[in-house]
């Protein structure tokens, strides 16, 4: 096949471009996630930098052809360092009118729109709410704005598979591979990786070689169609990117989260106990970890989120690395339990994969609006360490960080991921496991009081952490509980001074974590007109916007907080070096509040609540407005 693709070069010109963003869309049943994923693999294996984002429908299987049943998958592949799946779509593949309707406005002017013409009929127009008399493919305005390329994919796929010996339904299922073939031709990509996958997956795993063969046939047919049909005046080529050398794989945030925590447990020489209750968009962490039993992982699907956090605390008390995970509504339910962990001073990590709220909100959409809850959503003075990964692959590193801090400071750590990075994927330079520092844990086996008794709340002067003595250890029997404890002994105490002291000590202990938290790095000049300060999943977008702004000659730098409580020690320094601090967030200004309160800086927010990532262009524009250019 690769020779075939080579020969294709003679037909049309190939135009080199830096980056291309393609979106595949169609009905949930059209296999768009698979198609996008396969194209991504192809690009990644080729050596492009990639970033992807799937857009699932909220329904499990919405009726075919409706707009709310549309499934989308966007991938940007590039010869340069990229951080996002791209703002504007350069090429859209729309398998049906509903997909066309819901996605067309994201295509850049002049962009390519490949449609499965066969699905553009009255019946389908009705299903997605177009007027029956209106055919969008005939709309002059749209045809002026976009290069609409009509392909009768259903018919062509059927024709190519007349002798495949499969039913009509199964034949039609190969249309997505036909579309992928076209796209591979258009962007000059080999078919080998996809063929390999189809052979393996359908041929070997599912033991359906005929399905594999049909899909491969459709794929090739699409490719040849691109070559022959002269629908495209030009092909595009995106050269290899200059990534750091090493071995890569594609990884989503939820996958990296799971792998990071497994690695943390291994580095701590512990079992990982993951207690969770399914919830979008966090469930995948449970699914992934439940398959990793051989790696020292115990998973517990609890009856609810309260049970999950409490079981995790029990597991921590008993001496394993305890993790619980959820999304916003579940974090609300875990508040009381986390408060207990603050009092018990046991290590615990709580994952919150944020989604659009409040309440049930828009479960499949992203948002960053749980920060204040993570910081303060518990009764009493109940401080936790809060960290937030900034990209899919960063989830791996921050997961390890989370446990390193939890264990060292004997306290809960809240790990704020979000739907955007959880589901998005990017290339991941595989880490050298030996280079990751072990997580030191010491369970005492001897009493720590000259009189021979054990003092469960006697603190390490450096970290203020108490000893983590675990059940099963002879002679260290002790009782923990949620009532205020006497310093050292841990006995119940209602003493006023003791309470004041313990409250302050718990707070001081969390602040101590700043001792080992890396300093905040600035991208761009160390001082200037404006600093775009972000946290969490907006990293790629803010970074790209900052790069664009600097390229356009503006004095704008960017910095991204992975540690939200405590902050890196140099944060006030960094903030002081810029005239304006701009804080873009997908909420109404939560980090903004904290920064303002902490440093009395008149920082300005850029805030959107659209259930999705900022557009880079919007960030650039709003930043320029704020700095007055």
């Amino acid at each position: 096949m690769s020779t075939d693709t080579d020969t294709a070069h003679r037909h049309v010109d190939t135009k080199p471009v830096d980056a291309v963003a393609i979106r595949f869309c169609g009905d949930s049943g059209d296999g768009m996630q698979l198609t996008g994923g396969l194209f991504t693999n192809t690009a990644a294996l080729f050596g492009n930098d990639i970033a992807t984002y799937p857009d699932f429908p909220a329904e499990i299987r919405a009726p075919r052809g409706t707009t709310f049943g549309v499934s989308g998958f966007q991938v940007q592949f590039a010869s340069t360092d990229i951080f996002t799946p791209g703002d504007a779509v350069n090429a859209l593949v729309a398998m049906n009118p509903a997909g066309f309707k819901t996605n067309i406005m994201d295509v850049e002017p002049g962009g390519i729109v490949i449609v499965n013409e066969d699905e553009f009929n009255k019946a389908n127009f009705k299903k997605c709410g177009y007027e029956a008399s209106y055919d969008p493919l005939d709309d002059d305005e749209l045809n002026r704005r976009y290069q609409i390329v009509r392909v009768p994919m259903t018919r062509l796929t059927r024709e190519s598979l007349t002798d495949a010996g499969m039913g009509a339904k199964d034949v039609d299922r190969c249309r997505n591979m036909y579309a992928l073939g076209i796209v591979c031709w258009l962007y000059d990509r080999p078919l080998d990786p996809t063929i390999r996958f189809l052979d393996n997956f359908f041929g070997k795993k599912k033991d359906k070689p005929e399905v594999a063969a049909a899909n491969i046939k459709a794929l090739k047919a699409g490719f040849f169609f691109g070559e022959t049909a002269e629908l495209f005046p030009v092909r595009y080529q995106v050269a290899r990117a200059r990534l750091n050398p090493g071995k890569y794989r594609k990884i989503s945030g939820n996958e990296a989260t799971a792998l990071g925590f497994v690695t943390a447990a291994a580095k701590a020489n512990k079992q990982l106990v993951y207690a969770s209750y399914p919830i979008t968009p966090a469930s995948e962490v449970l699914h992934t970890l439940s398959r990793l039993k051989r790696y020292g992982v115990t998973t517990f699907q609890a009856e609810d989120e309260i049970s999950a956090v409490c079981a995790a605390i029990g597991a921590s008390f008993a001496g394993q690395l305890a993790l619980t995970g959820t999304s916003g509504p579940g974090l609300a339910l875990k508040g009381e339990g986390i408060g207990l962990a603050v009092m018990l001073e046991v290590p615990l990590v709580v994952i919150d994969v944020q989604r659009a709220g409040p309440s049930t909100g828009m479960p499949t959409k992203t948002e960053q609006a749980d920060l204040l809850m993570a910081l303060w959503g518990r009764p009493g003075e109940s401080p936790c360490i809060v960290v937030a990964p900034r990209s899919p692959s960063d989830c791996f590193d921050m997961a390890i960080e989370a446990f390193r801090l939890a264990v060292r400071y004997m306290c809960p750590v809240i790990y704020l991921s979000d739907g955007y990075i959880a589901n998005g994927a990017e290339p991941w330079l595989l880490p050298d496991l030996d280079a990751i520092e072990p997580i030191q844990i010491e369970h005492p086996s001897e009493t720590n009081n000259p009189d021979g008794t054990f003092l469960p709340y006697k603190r390490d002067p450096e970290t203020l952490a108490r000893p983590w003595a675990i059940p099963g250890t002879e002679g260290l029997e002790h009782r923990l509980g949620g009532l205020e404890k006497e310093a050292d002994t841990g006995n119940v105490s209602y003493d006023p001074e003791n309470h004041d002291q313990m409250v302050r000590t718990r707070a001081a202990k969390v602040l101590k974590a700043a001792d080992i938290i890396p300093l905040l790095e600035v991208r761009g000049p160390e001082s200037g007109d404006a600093l775009l300060l972000g946290w969490g999943g907006t990293y790629g977008t803010i970074t790209t916007a900052g790069d664009e702004l600097r390229e356009a000659g503006h004095s704008v730098s960017t910095a991204h907080l992975q540690y939200l409580n405590p902050f890196p020690k140099n944060l006030p320094d960094v903030l002081g070096r810029f005239k304006t601090i701009i804080i873009p967030e997908i909420n109404l200004g939560q980090l903004l509040k904290v920064i303002r309160a902490e440093y009395l800086i008149d920082a300005v927010g850029i805030n959107e609540m659209r259930g999705k990532m900022f557009r880079i262009a919007d960030l650039v524009e709003k930043t320029l407005q704020i700095i007055g250019r």
Binding site: R249, L292, K293, R294, E303, A318, P471
Partner: protein, 340 residues
């Protein structure tokens, strides 16, 4: 960490130096004593016991047991206990809490722990009232009961903890009484021996807010006629003069008087493994019926949750070997970017 030989413990080895803060006359004292007397007989090391509780008067229990202990939050003790067993199945976990804690706010966790058959022992200290919060009605309070929050009487029908446990799939269900330390010890020893969740309801007197609620069943004079002692395989006989018993009457249990042609051998024999019978027994209530004491149901047919979970891990490792983290990270399609 362990010497190989098990030390010989005395009850006082399980007592802490903390002042016991229950009210004078509280039934919890006797139960504490019974537990402290039972543990030395069970052949486990002190450091392997964990006492877990929620919140309430009963839930202060762990502070008085010189073992590992967790006085957690209201209603969630079963979840903590489950987590402890997941982390270390070798620990011997006892959950002691009140009727409000385990049945009201904590009912769901209790139920799910029971159906999963997590290998822990639950002691429900049932005083039919909220003691710690000073006297509101609890889910076991009688319909019509006047309390601080129900000045004209409770509008709720109470839950029957044992029927509910049987219905929820618990594999070991028993009942005892605070003042009868010997009976308590016997029942607890059986509960401890049971693999899976054992659920023991203990009738407990709250001396302050619900005094004498169980006196019909606890006092020498009335007890023989108001309760029935169950013994596996033994006829169901009761009464001050052992002159009454239980029989099946179609689909229902009935009380019969012995004599007049009815002899002990005509009575129903107790079968701990008969879940339907167990349900009917838990439904018996005084004064129409004697209330059963002892082991009502005990089934060993199910595996314990912690066993199954750890067995799945063991098998996974046995089949495919211990996981190699490096391989895991390098799974799937990978590609190499060379140094330029």
């Amino acid at each position: 960490m362990h010497d190989t030989q098990l030390p010989t413990y005395k009850p006082k080895d399980f007592a802490t130096d903390q002042d016991v803060r229950w009210c004078p006359g509280c039934g919890d004292y006797a139960i504490l004593k019974a537990v402290q007397k039972t543990l030395p007989t069970l052949g486990r090391r002190k450091e392997d016991y964990v006492f877990v509780s929620g919140i309430g008067c009963a839930a202060r229990f762990p502070y008085y047991m010189d073992t590992y202990g967790l006085h957690s939050i209201h209603g969630r003790a079963p979840a903590f206990a489950t987590g402890i067993k997941l982390a270390n199945p070798a620990l011997d976990v006892w959950l002691v809490s009140g009727d409000g804690d385990l049945l009201s706010i904590g009912g769901n966790h209790t139920m799910h722990t029971m159906r999963r058959n997590v290998d822990i022992n639950i002691l429900l200290l049932n005083n039919r009232i909220y003691g710690l919060t000073k006297g509101q009605y609890s889910p076991t309070s009688e319909f019509g009961k006047k309390t601080k929050s129900t000045p004209v009487g409770s509008p709720d029908y109470p839950v029957n903890p044992l029927s509910w446990a049987i219905g929820g799939g618990c594999t070991f269900v028993a009942r005892s009484i605070d003042i009868d330390v010997l009976h308590l010890e016997k029942v607890m020893a059986r509960a401890a021996a049971h693999r899976g969740t054992s659920f023991v309801e203990v009738y407990q007197d709250c001396n302050i807010y619900n005094h004498q609620t169980w006196f019909y069943a606890s006092q020498k004079k009335t007890r023989p006629d108001s309760t029935i002692q169950l013994e596996p395989g033994k006829p169901m006989i009761f009464g001050a003069d052992s002159d009454k018993g239980l029989q099946m009457d179609g689909t229902r249990l009935k009380v019969v008087e012995l004599g007049n042609g009815v002899s002990e051998s005509d009575l129903l024999l107790h079968d701990e493994t008969d879940r339907g019978l167990a349900f009917m027994l838990t439904q018996l209530s005084f004064p129409e019926f004697p209330e059963p004491l002892g082991i009502i149901y005990a089934s060993t047919e199910q595996e314990t949750y912690d066993h199954v979970v750890h067995e799945q891990i063991r098998q996974a490792i046995e089949m495919d070997g211990k996981g190699d983290l490096h391989k895991l990270l390098h799974e799937g399609e990978t590609w190499v970017v060379e140094d330029d």
